[in-house]
Symmetry: C2
Subunit: 371 residues, 2 copies
């Protein structure tokens, strides 16, 4: 695989590191956060706003885009970057998670996955090769393998099967991917739930195939925090140091800083954007539920320490008014704030690692979230 | 009243003129368009975006803001400009129209209007003096009188009553307004429907009271176009030249350019913003219904001749995708385009009047709309 990752600094007291992922559409400084743009847009935000918040990449969803507007449409329009007019890196999720969470009647077969479109009931079959082809047509910078995602809790027996099938699909995906020259990066997704033997096996299988990056899938889905951290810390011992690591779907800031200390480089989560639309706002002093009547006459910004457009211009009272009136600008202003909050934490994570103050920074985030 | 309006150029072949309205929060070059921000926000747009589209003022609605968040809240937060963080001119509508269009069980009495809140059924009474006080507390730059609005069609008998009551309320409003020094401007609203005798009487009554500006209310609500134009043209003969004229709620671009030729200086309408959210987009080549399947693979911008952010960056295919997915960014991008389209027409109207080419410009707009 390609030499797409370079480590630029290391924390002396943990496995936290800063690095750079080089993609066909530019570089991503890690640790990095990928805002979720399932349909090719951040909900509530224009690309220009996302860029000025400091986002380095966005995550789009192959499953959603495959169903609508369809891959042929996107291909005709020059691929995903051209279709959505975003010239920075794009990571495309394979859809493994969405097939299992959105579709009724999923049948996992050795040859691939058969499922019903959650939109119109059409029966669809996708092989691991199909999922590669879809993402190739999208032209995303980072492609993800089709994996076999299991909910929590699942038995070890079932988890073992899922790992075996994920490995088998990974082999087929890689073989298919290598048939054509491509500047795109291909990352593996490990499964195994919270069973270390299975997780370890999954990672070893993927490493043998050699991918451009390694994701941890099927975590942060309801398992106890201690087991979650235990697994992430153990993967740190076995994953290749020189490849980027991606913890999928994990969004609590305390989990983020702790797993960065266990060597994780990339995150994505709907938390900042979904919470924004629901009126839950993250601040340096804790969460604010903006619909609360106590903010009715509150002329302070959401967060005195925040430099975002929302906090620089608007009071809690006005934001509450917009939320209560269900104005579109409520979703926009809240999303700007929450995404700024997240992206700013990642800027600070990178700075702290480079200035050898990561331990204090991590502790301050954990202390605030535990308040 | 104050010297708040200055005419800066005149069309030689019509009554079209350019001018400047001076308000406590700055100047408005006329003819001007006031985007509608009923709740203190343009639906789908941030203030910063509205400003960069070239908006000179916004219209807020006293009725909506009185009900929620309440005038006391806005007053505590320093008035409407401070509450919504918009430092440019604000025109507040009196609520006369909303009381009649939104509230069930309206009783118009000599002393004022009694109505039921459309939100929670509370019975509310507002006198003309109350409506002045509400707008004084808001601190808007241009305040509108409480008027007695009638739907179309209404009998001449009923219209005569409405004119008499509007005049009576106008007297009381003016007397009350003059009790306190204020930098705010107070504009009258004439009624009279399409009955010239009534409309003429209404205007004469208001002129006798002397207001900072004169609005035409109760037009563009379903009456035949020829009668509508006839009335506007006749008002042009009687309204004082030296005061700004405001045609409320009229939004078809052909009506706008024709009534500018009859001396109208100010307009407001929800058309560009509401249509944007419904996927109807205005272009120099006519309207586009973006949900139409024929745009599925259309890589052209909405309008080749448009310089807005939407047209400079995105294809019809992507805009259709966002609209079909009901993404918030669909409303945002469409609103940017439609408001840019409207504000650009007003820029061109002003340029055309000043460069003595208004007749050709007006005809080009009429020809396009009639296509």
């Amino acid at each position: 695989m390609k030499k797409s990752f370079k480590i630029t600094a290391r924390d002396l007291k943990s496995s936290a590191r800063t690095g750079v992922i080089t993609t066909p559409h530019g570089k991503i400084k890690t640790p990095a956060f990928a805002p979720v743009a399932s349909q090719g847009t951040i909900k509530g935000l224009l690309h220009s706003q996302l860029e000025s918040l400091g986002a380095q990449l966005m995550l789009v969803n192959s499953y959603h885009l495959y169903l609508r507007p369809g891959i042929e449409t996107i291909e005709k329009l020059g691929g995903i970057h051209s279709f959505i007019s975003w010239e920075k890196p794009i990571l495309s999720d394979s859809g493994g998670f969405q097939i299992h969470s959105l579709s009724p009647l999923v049948k996992v077969k050795k040859q691939g996955v058969e499922f019903t479109s959650h939109l119109d009931g059409t029966r669809i079959f996708l092989s691991p090769e199909d999922v590669i082809d879809i993402q190739r047509k999208l032209g995303s910078d980072i492609m993800m393998l089709l994996d076999y995602f299991l909910p929590f809790p699942s038995s070890e027996e079932k988890t073992k099967e899922a790992v075996e099938l994920t490995t088998y699909w990974a082999q087929r995906s890689r073989t298919h991917f290598l048939k054509q020259e491509s500047p795109q990066l291909l990352w593996g997704i490990s499964q195994g739930g919270i069973f270390w033997d299975q997780r370890n096996k999954s990672i070893e299988d993927l490493m043998e195939l050699d991918f451009d990056g390694y994701a941890l899938g099927g975590l942060g889905i309801g398992e106890p925090k201690s087991q979650f951290m235990d697994i992430v810390e153990k993967t740190n011992e076995v994953l290749p140091e020189a490849r980027p690591r991606y913890l999928m779907g994990v969004g609590y800031t305390s989990d983020i800083v702790k797993t960065v200390a266990a060597g994780v480089d990339l995150f994505d989560c709907v938390m900042p954007t979904r919470n924004a639309r629901n009126g839950t706002l993250f601040t340096s002093q804790g969460r604010i539920l903006i619909k609360n009547k106590k903010y009715e006459n509150d002329e302070r910004p959401l967060d005195d320490n925040c430099s975002c457009y929302t906090c620089q211009n608007f009071s809690r009272a006005y934001l509450r008014h917009l939320y209560e009136r269900q104005e579109i600008s409520s979703a926009i202003l809240n999303t700007i704030h929450n995404l700024y909050f997240y992206l700013d934490i990642f800027r600070k994570i990178r700075q702290a690692i480079q200035s050898h103050s990561y331990q204090q920074f991590m502790q301050s985030i954990i202390d605030k979230e535990e308040e």
